[in-house]
């Protein structure tokens, strides 16, 4: 499957989200060779699933398009999708890395014409939309996906359906015999940009996620508002597809909480402010309430907080949400907020409740086989005794996109220094 010659003595970047893309591109544009490994079928990671960035409210696909264009014209980058690092050995300047690539069942001949999708009837959970809808088992992850190549879901391999896809392809692009393979590379340094995942909201018993349909998470909200999401960008509540007139955001859902994540996830305040604008823009009469502990709109992001505050249909109430229940008749969630100081309890009903769930580093449970020091939460810690392996972005700490890119650019320099020292 991999026909290209694999680079030697290059920089390995683990994770193809915005941080990994940045580290890879910045190093490659400086003249160094890079191998980028991504476990999903496409590059872009979490940001590809966002509707807009705070605080500019611009679409992430705009910057991704530029980054993909940068990859297309830079021969210094080699990338592997559906791939994970299996093992790493060696030391700064000289690592041996084994990369495991899972079969895509579609090769580089694919023109993304879509004929296989047309004949495919089996549907699978749409991972791009966080399982909120279905996609065909022969699919393009999303319209701007990079690489622009279809994927055949393993579910249909060995069935007649796969055979039908094979027959429909005019370009000999489907290879049902494709096997997973291991690729061995030598690299001089490694940057871990394995990113994050949202905190599992169902662990927060009292907030009703998983129990009540109209309690969703902030990452789901991004998909609901995105033009390429399950509702084509219309914010509709899951239980009945009704338009939402009254939305409550619950901040620190799991974050800043000894029982869940003791740290602050750093992005959720601004994410909720941004999502409040999604709701307000779509529904003129809508009302938004944000229950918070502190609004952390740091630096110049304060301007955005000020702007959202000036919308009189958005209210901010300081208080920790004690629990979320549901009106069984209407499926409206009911939020109970405890004002710890006055002891007063507020009860508020909404069409939709959005839990501002936090950031959990992927390294917390999915150990990458590299020798890197992490804190108790799974965030990488810089360790001067371990030169040659670096981390950037949300693998290091909860951080917004601009911060992650900044960090990833610096990590490219560290990785370059390591290849030079040897």
């Amino acid at each position: 499957m991999v026909e290209r010659e694999v680079f030697d003595k290059s920089i390995l970047v683990i994770g193809g989200g915005i941080s990994g893309l940045t580290t890879a591109l910045e190093a490659a544009e400086t003249g160094y060779r890079v191998i980028l490994v991504e476990k999903e079928a496409f590059l872009g990671g979490r940001v590809a699933r966002l509707n807009k960035y705070y605080t500019k409210l611009c679409p992430p696909s705009c910057g991704l398009e530029i980054n993909f264009k940068r990859i297309k014209r830079n021969p210094n980058i080699q990338y592997f999708t559906l791939a994970e690092v299996e093992s790493v050995s060696g030391e700064e300047g000289n690592y041996d890395v084994a990369i495991r690539v899972q079969p895509r069942y579609v090769n580089d001949n694919c023109t993304a014409c879509g004929e296989c999708e047309k004949v495919c009837v089996t549907e699978i959970e749409n991972d791009f939309n966080l399982g909120m809808d279905k996609t065909k088992a022969a699919y393009l992850p999303y319209q701007l996906a990079f690489p622009m190549k279809y994927v055949l879901a393993p579910e249909i391999i060995g069935t007649d359906e796969a055979k039908k896809c094979l027959d429909a392809c005019k370009y000999n692009a489907i290879d049902l015999g494709m096997q997973s393979e291991t690729i061995n590379v030598k690299v001089g340094s490694i940057v871990v940009t394995s990113g994050w995942k949202p905190y599992d909201a169902s662990k927060i018993d009292n907030l009703g996620f998983g129990k009540y349909e109209n309690v969703i998470t902030n990452v789901m909200m991004e998909r609901l508002a995105a033009p390429n999401g399950p509702t084509n960008g219309k914010i509709l509540r899951p239980s009945d597809g009704k338009e939402v007139k009254n939305v409550i955001f619950v901040q620190c859902a799991g974050s800043r909480d000894e029982n869940h994540l003791p740290y602050c996830s750093a992005v959720c305040c601004l994410a909720s402010l941004k999502q409040a604008t999604y709701v307000r823009e779509q529904y003129q009469e809508s009302k938004v309430t944000i229950f918070y502990i502190d609004i952390r709109a740091i630096g110049r992001f304060e301007d955005f907080y000020t702007k959202v505050q000036s919308d009189e249909n958005v209210s901010f109430i300081k208080g920790k949400v004690a629990k979320v229940e549901e009106d069984p008749a209407t499926k409206d969630p009911i939020v109970e907020v405890e004002d710890t100081l006055s002891g007063e309890k507020i009860k508020a009903k909404a069409d939709l409740v959005v839990l501002a769930t936090g950031i959990v580093p992927n390294m917390s449970d999915n150990k990458i086989p590299v020798n890197i020091t992490c804190d108790e939460f799974g965030f990488a810690v810089s360790d001067p005794s371990k030169m040659g392996i670096y981390a950037a972005g949300c693998a290091k700490r909860p951080i917004g996109v601009a911060g992650a890119v900044q960090d990833a650019t610096g990590a490219a320099l560290k990785a370059i220094q390591s290849t030079l020292r040897r």
Binding site: E26, E29, T30, L57, C58, P59, P60, S61, C62, G63, E65, I66, N67, K69, R70, K72, R73, N74, N109, T111, C113, G114, Q143, L144, M148, K170, Y171, P227, N232, P262, Y263, C264, D294, I295, A297, I298, G299, R300, E302, D303, T306, K318, L341, S342, D375, E376, F377, V381, R397, I399, A402, G403, V405, Q406, T409, G410, A412, L413, I416, Q417
Partner: protein, 745 residues
């Protein structure tokens, strides 16, 4: 070298099923007399692509025209050395076959027009000759605080020679004034040494780093790879050549004398957080008024920050600094009470754990509220009035000493030199519209770099004086190529972030000289080897190019002639759009090339009732958006002819005039969003296009051509579903306006 064009038409992906390929090839071979014209059912396959390579090698084809899928696809297959081969790609798949009726007359006409347009362009494109000059790769770091020191060290570790200039007598900056720093490493609970002394030692002993302290930059001339910097030190001036620059000049505390309402200047016992660091170093927290130990200390957060009368932004370091200083005080004397009065406690990420620890200290009282005033009672105790507390009451706190957590002002935001200021960006949109002034940068003469640039002496500032990038995805984007801001001058940040930021800025500085040395552009057209060539004998010294380049590429001689600095150039082509004499050209992209494309369009006679409209699309956003329209098989009016542009700011008014005089019925321009939250990748290309179109509309009205024939719109890349409607709506307008009276002339 003689041009030899090869045309390669792909009939795969429904192209062959919806178009008459032979007729299409006929356009190339008969009208354009193309010597090589071939088609293949899968041009991107091994066989197809080797046909092209074979023709290049054996037939001497040096200009390749590929009529297949979008130029965004299969780029690895259709990739040739741009210094030898010119390539033009015609989008028959996404823009024709996938969204128009198969085998329809109008669909075929559309494809044939695209063929003509592509060929017209190919005929005029020339292989690229990269700009070459002896490039210096030294990195100049301005500022010797934590960011500057780290920048110098990081650059040296990457093998670069470094010149470090600090205006003060010593290195270290604000970091050297701190007693300790708040916890940066697990378990995130204990205060840490700043470590600045060892870094200073390291920087001083590094042979790759030349240090100038007590020095300043008198002037900076030149361009990336060729900067000539004059450094003055001890009354002497020295000229140094460098390749790129990191501006790490840091910040100043907000002037506390402006905080009279918080008691500063009224009582000596109202101090700033900076003064607390000095006290901590001395090991005593005493009242300045009487030298008595302060037994109760009240911190006032956001002193000057998050305040529309002072600094509207959050200074980001003050919450943690006050928590740290509370810990200093409590560690020294466990009887001292500390009050922290805040609006929101902002301790992001793992810093939350330190906040939690301080919160648990019974001697620290954290109160959310608004401080309305600080006064003195008869016993010289300070009284802090706090309103809107969570209890809803107004409370009073009595303290021996009050600490103002003052914020950060970027050094680039402080006007030092007495030069006239331009209007700040976005500050008076209304006014701008009325006067129809082209958008200008906001540059504060802060005496940092003293650039000898036509557009002003310093980096252009964003809001509040930070010379930051406005892009979320590209935080090191700079409007002055080769000059990168880092640390607190760029945005408010803490010491640890400054060190990370230094590494990022240095990477960009090194990348810039490496690309420049190869004659290549930096971001966002990284690697592009084209650069503008000016046909000076036709220049009228109108100065539009020198004023409008978003990157300050042009200097000017005393007569007003533009003096290009190609290594500053980002190849956006906005100057091409600005030039009324059309003298600015790239080898593969020029006013003439695009003009030839639109002149190649076949305009049917009026009685055929087939109007023609040109759509100029930004290739970064609107164009990919239109590819998705194809991918989604959405259909739209087939009378539209799309021309992709590097930036909408390339549109030269002559194109509009040429199109209309040829009988084209309308021109649509679709670019990126502009204004305060601009999305244009070249800062103000789409805004300039808008400004220029305002002007042409007046001209049209005078010529009695309806201004409705021109429409300019903003579109984000994810608004593809709107595109068919935009096209159809514009066509409706054009039909209402009627055929262009110049048709047939």
């Amino acid at each position: 070298m003689d041009k030899k064009i090869g045309v390669y038409i792909c009939s795969g992906c429904e192209i062959g099923e919806s178009l008459d390929i032979d007729a299409l090839a006929g356009v190339a071979t008969s009208k354009y007399k193309v010597p090589v014209c071939k088609n293949h059912p899968m041009l991107c396959g091994v066989e197809g692509s080797s046909i092209i390579r074979g023709d290049i090698e054996k037939e001497g084809v040096n200009t390749v025209v590929i009529a297949a899928c979008s130029p965004r696809e299969k780029t690895n297959v259709f990739s040739y050395d741009p210094t030898a081969i010119s390539m033009e790609r015609i989008n028959l798949r996404e823009h024709v076959a996938w969204c128009h009726t198969p085998n329809d007359e109008d669909t075929q006409m559309l494809a044939e027009d695209y063929m003509r347009m592509g060929l017209a362009k190919a005929q005029k494109m020339a292989p690229l000759e990269p700009f070459s000059e002896e490039i210096n790769k030294t990195v100049l770091v301005v500022g010797g605080g934590i960011t500057g020191i780290t920048s110098a060290l990081e650059a040296a570790r990457a093998g670069q020679d470094v010149v470090l200039v600090e205006k003060g007598p010593e290195l270290g900056g604000w970091m050297a004034k701190l007693w300790k720093q708040y916890p940066k490493t697990p378990p995130y609970l204990e205060l840490q040494e700043t470590g600045i002394d060892s870094r200073i030692k390291e920087v001083k002993s590094n042979t790759k780093i030349r240090i100038y302290t007590g020095a300043k930059i008198e002037k900076t001339e030149g361009a990336p790879g060729l900067f000539d910097v004059t450094i003055s030190q001890n009354g002497k001036s020295e000229a140094v050549r460098v390749g790129s620059i990191v501006e790490a000049t840091g910040w100043q505390p907000y002037d506390a004398t402006k905080l009279g309402h918080l008691g500063f200047g009224k009582s000596p016992d109202v101090v700033t957080n900076i003064m607390i660091e000095e006290m901590a170093k001395k090991g005593k927290f005493v009242r300045p008024s009487d030298g008595k130990e302060a037994k109760s200390v009240a911190f006032i957060q956001c002193a000057g920050s998050r305040d529309s009368n002072h600094l509207p932004y959050c200074s980001s370091y003050c919450c943690l600094t006050s928590l740290k200083q509370a810990a200093y005080i409590r560690e020294q004397d466990s009887d001292t009470k500390v009050y922290i009065l805040y609006k929101d406690m902002r301790t992001p990420a793992q810093y939350e754990l330190f906040y939690k620890k301080v919160q648990e200290d019974a001697g620290v009282f954290l109160t959310k509220g608004e401080v309305v005033g600080v006064s003195e009672d008869s016993d010289k105790n300070l009284i802090v009035d706090v309103d809107n507390t969570l209890l809803g009451d107004r409370i009073q706190i009595k303290a021996d000493m009050v600490v103002l957590a003052t914020g950060m002002v970027p050094s680039a935001g402080i006007q030092v030199k007495d030069l006239p200021l331009e209007e700040p960006e976005g500050a008076s949109d209304e006014k701008k519209k009325e006067e129809k002034e082209p958008p200008k940068d906001f540059i504060i003469p802060s005496d940092i770099l003293n650039l000898k640039y036509r557009q002003g002496p310093e980096l252009p500032n964003l809001k509040y004086g930070f010379p930051d990038s406005h892009y979320i995805c590209f935080p090191y984007e700079t409007r002055r190529t080769g000059i990168y801001a880092a640390g607190c001058v760029r945005q408010p940040m803490d010491g640890a972030t400054c060190a990370d930021d230094a590494a990022g800025a240095v990477l960009k500085a090194i990348q810039c000289v490496e690309l420049t040395a190869q004659g290549k552009a930096v971001h966002p057209r990284a690697g592009d080897m084209s650069y503008p060539d000016l046909y000076m004998s036709r220049c009228t010294q109108c100065k539009r190019c020198t004023e409008e380049c978003p990157f300050g590429m042009y200097n000017e001689d005393e007569k007003g002639n533009p003096l290009p600095n190609p290594t500053r150039c980002r190849r956006c082509g906005i100057c091409m759009g600005s030039c009324p004499e059309r003298i600015i050209s790239f080898k593969d992209y020029s006013v003439d090339i695009i003009g030839s494309m639109l002149k190649a369009i076949d305009v049917p006679e009026e009685d055929e009732e087939k109007p023609r409209v040109i759509a100029f699309l930004c290739e970064n956003d609107a164009y990919p958006s239109m590819d998705i329209v194809g991918r989604k098989r959405l259909s739209y009016n087939p009378y539209m002819r799309v021309i992709p542009l590097r930036c909408l700011g390339n549109v030269n008014l002559v194109w509009i005039a040429d199109a209309l005089s040829k009988g084209i019925d309308g021109v649509l321009l679709i670019g990126c969003k502009y204004g305060d939250d601009y999305q244009c990748h070249y800062i103000k290309g789409s805004e300039l296009a808008n400004y220029r179109m305002e002007k042409i509309k007046e001209t049209l009205d005078r010529l009695r051509l309806e201004s409705d024939r021109i429409r300019i719109l903003e579109l984000s890349i994810d608004e593809y579903d709107k595109l068919p409607g935009i096209f159809d709506d514009f066509m409706e307008t054009i039909e209402k306006v009627g055929p262009n009276p110049y048709k047939g002339f």
